[in-house]
Symmetry: C2
Subunit: 137 residues, 2 copies
């Protein structure tokens, strides 16, 4: 039997509930990596949703050339980003959010609000837990 929870489909089997492989996990795993969200955010607030490599690199503190390259490649692979390459000297490459990439951040708005509301409590819980942990040891 096919049901849904919080917009998420799953099947009720005899052995128990089974979630579909379409799981948010793949997307979350990408978004959860170290730089992706920052890159998308910077592009989202840029005019034309478009920035060149060096602008992104300057804007994101601590990112290395290598990681920026990899992050951009992955976003391009998922169709969230397009690469505009100009054969000039010196070379210039611009990255632009696709329509799909542009719709990603707004879709996260509800979650962002949740984080804003719960972050302090969550951090407090962590500290309390770690504190209790150190007592035992």
């Amino acid at each position: 039997m096919q049901r849904t929870i919080h917009g998420r489909p799953y099947e009720q089997t005899e052995a128990g509930p089974k979630f579909r492989p379409c799981a948010p996990h793949d997307v979350l795993a990408r978004l959860g990596d170290k730089w992706t969200i920052l890159v998308v955010s910077h592009l989202a607030i840029a005019e034309g949703h478009r920035l060149r490599f060096s602008e992104l690199k300057r804007g994101i503190e601590g990112i290395t050339q290598r990681m920026l390259t990899l992050t951009l490649r992955n976003l391009e692979r998922d169709g969230l980003l397009t690469r505009h390459c100009f054969a000039e000297v010196p070379p210039r490459v611009e990255y632009e959010l696709t329509e799909m990439g542009d719709s990603l951040l707004p879709a996260l708005a509800g979650f962002t609000a949740w984080i804003r509301d719960n972050w302090p409590r969550l951090e407090a819980c962590r500290r309390a837990f770690d504190e209790a942990q150190r007592q035992d040891s």
Copy 2:
């Protein structure tokens, strides 16, 4: 100057936009790990938002004892879960979503909808990209 994009706060500095450390990244990184979402989902559809260790283990295909233990510990640390330990023989431990943990999934509803709508296109983009990649090589 303090601004906001898609509910996400950032500062506009001379050097460019700077996002606050409160970034969703910490939470996303946890949610993006291999099992967290599945555990939370199973608890969310359980009656009383409550399941015991072995029920979770049976319900989540492929998870090992070790990973289930770690995932539950992390959720407990963040205050999304409480552990109810019964000193019986054989021992019994139940895990229950806290109010905060319970509010997490609904907060993700918008994002879940986005995934449902865009997943096919995203997968198609991946395949196309990988295909083009093999041509070049």
